[in-house]
C-alpha cells in the first residue's frame, strides 16, 4: 500500500502537467500508475482539485491558539527526538524504564488506570492531551516534557492480543481513538480523580 507521500507527490505531478498546458484527464493519468492504487488515487485527485488551494487564513480563537501551540510543541519535540538519532521511546517504554506499574503511575497522576492504559495503547488523540498531564507525566517519570511529548507520538507497543489475532487470522474491530475528555469520561473516574482534573475538564 502506498503511503500518504505517494498520493501527495502524484497529485503535484498531475497539477504540474496541467500547469504545463497538458490537459490530461484523471483517468488517463491514473492509468499510468500502479493498478492497486488507481481507484484511491483517482478519488483523491478529484477531491484535491475540487477542494483546491487553501482558503484565507482563519483568525484563531484563544482556545484554537492554545490547541495549535500544544500541537506544534508536540510535533517539534517528536521531530527533535527523531533527528537526534536517539531511540524513540513510547510511554510504556518510559514507564517501564522507571520500573513503575500502570496502576501506580495512574494513582500518582490521579488518573483512572483505564485511561492511562488507553493512552499507552495510543488510543487517545494526542492533540487533546492537556499540557498539565504532560508536565505531571514528566515529573512522575523523572524526564523532560519534550521526552514525554515525543513518547506520546511514538508508535505504541503491539499488544499480545493483536499479535495472537494476527497469527490466528482473527480480525477484531479496532479500538477507536478518542479525545482525552472522552477517554476520561469512558473510564468511570472516581470523585477524587474528577476533582484533580476538573480545571482542565470542566464538564467531566
Amino acid at each position: 500500500m502506498k503511503d500518504r507521500s505517494y498520493f501527495i507527490e502524484a497529485a503535484l505531478r498531475y497539477e504540474e502537467l496541467l500547469e504545463s498546458g497538458q490537459i490530461i484527464s484523471l483517468d488517463a493519468f491514473v492509468a499510468q500508475e500502479p493498478p492497486e492504487v488507481r481507484e484511491d488515487l483517482r478519488a483523491f485527485l478529484e477531491f484535491n482539485l475540487t477542494l483546491g488551494e487553501l482558503d484565507e487564513p482563519a483568525i484563531l480563537s484563544p482556545a484554537e491558539e492554545a490547541a495549535a501551540s500544544r500541537v506544534m510543541a508536540l510535533a517539534r519535540a517528536a521531530f527533535e527526538r527523531e533527528l537526534s538519532g536517539e531511540p524513540v521511546q513510547n510511554l510504556t517504554d518510559l514507564r517501564k524504564a522507571r520500573q513503575v506499574t500502570v496502576g501506580r503511575l495512574a494513582r500518582q497522576l490521579k488518573l483512572p488506570v483505564d485511561l492511562l492504559a488507553r493512552l499507552e495503547r495510543g488510543k487517545v488523540r494526542v492533540a487533546t492531551i492537556p499540557e498539565r498531564l504532560i508536565e505531571r507525566l514528566a515529573d512522575a517519570l523523572q524526564t523532560t516534557t519534550s521526552t514525554v511529548q515525543a513518547a506520546l507520538l511514538a508508535p505504541p507497543p503491539v499488544s499480545a492480543a493483536a499479535r495472537l489475532n494476527a497469527e490466528d487470522g482473527i480480525v477484531e474491530p479496532e479500538e477507536p481513538v478518542v479525545s482525552f475528555a472522552q477517554a476520561f469520561a469512558d473510564s468511570a473516574p472516581t470523585d477524587e480523580e474528577r476533582a484533580a482534573w476538573a480545571d482542565v475538564l470542566p464538564g467531566a
Partner: protein, 215 residues
C-alpha cells in the same frame, strides 16, 4: 504601519525557508537553531490556513488539531525526503495537497466531511441558489463584458493568469465558450465538481478585482 502580506508572498517566503532546511536535512546535516527558526516560521504561517480549511469543512476543534498535527508530521517527513523537491518549487500546492489528502483520509474512515463529489443540490456559498442552477452561470462572461477597455481587460487576464492552475483552466475554457459539462469530460471530473471549481474561481476573481479597483 504594517502591511498585510498576501498568501502568495507568505508562500514564497515559506518556500525559501523550506529550500534552506532541505538543503541541510536531505544531506544528513543537523537542524541548527537558525533552521529551527525557519521551520517554526513555516509551521506558524501554515497553521491558520489549515485551521481555516478544517473549520470550513465543519470539523470540530479536536479534529482541527488532529489535521494540524498530521500536516506538521507529514511536513517533517517530506523535508528529509530527497525525492520531494517539488515542495521547494511549489510549496503552496504542496501544503494544500497535503491537507487535502489528510482530510480525504479522514473522510474515508469517518464520512463526516465534504464528499469528494459535491451535490448539485448543495447551495452555492452560505445561502446561494442550488449548484445545479448555476452550473452554466454566465458570470465570467459578464466579468469580461464589464472590463471593456483594453486596460481593464488586460488587468482581468492578469488576475486570471494568477489563479491556481485548475481554476485558471476552468475559467479560461468557459471564457472560450466551452461548456462546464465539456470541461468536466475533458478533465474526467463530475460536472458538479467543475462547477464548484468555477464558482470558487469567480469568487476569487471578484475579490481580487474589487480589492485592486477600490481606491
Amino acid at each position: 504601519m504594517t502591511q498585510q502580506r498576501s498568501w502568495y508572498e507568505v508562500v514564497l517566503e515559506c518556500q525559501e525557508r523550506v529550500a534552506r532546511i532541505r538543503a541541510v536535512l536531505t544531506t544528513g546535516g543537523a537542524l541548527t537553531p537558525d533552521l529551527q527558526a525557519d521551520l517554526d516560521a513555516v509551521i506558524l504561517a501554515m497553521r491558520n490556513w489549515i485551521f481555516g480549511r478544517a473549520r470550513i469543512l465543519g470539523l470540530d476543534e479536536d479534529a482541527r488539531s488532529d489535521v494540524l498535527l498530521a500536516a506538521i508530521n507529514q511536513l517533517h517527513k517530506d523535508l528529509r525526503s530527497p525525492g520531494f523537491s517539488s515542495m521547494e518549487r511549489r510549496f503552496g500546492a504542496y501544503i494544500s495537497t497535503t491537507v487535502n489528502r489528510i482530510l480525504q483520509e479522514r473522510n474515508n474512515t469517518q464520512q463526516n466531511i465534504l464528499s469528494p463529489t459535491v451535490s448539485l443540490d448543495a447551495p452555492v456559498g452560505d445561502d446561494g441558489p442550488p449548484l445545479h442552477e448555476v452550473v452554466e452561470d454566465p458570470t465570467s462572461e459578464r466579468l469580461v463584458e464589464a472590463h471593456r477597455s483594453e486596460d481593464e481587460r488586460r488587468r482581468l487576464y492578469e488576475v486570471i493568469a494568477a489563479l491556481p492552475t485548475t481554476e485558471r483552466i476552468v475559467i479560461t475554457h468557459r471564457l472560450e465558450g466551452v461548456r462546464g459539462t465539456d470541461i468536466a469530460q475533458m478533465l474526467g471530473m463530475s460536472p458538479a465538481n467543475v462547477s464548484h471549481i468555477y464558482n470558487r474561481a469567480v469568487k476569487r476573481l471578484r475579490q481580487t478585482l474589487t480589492t485592486r479597483e477600490s481606491p
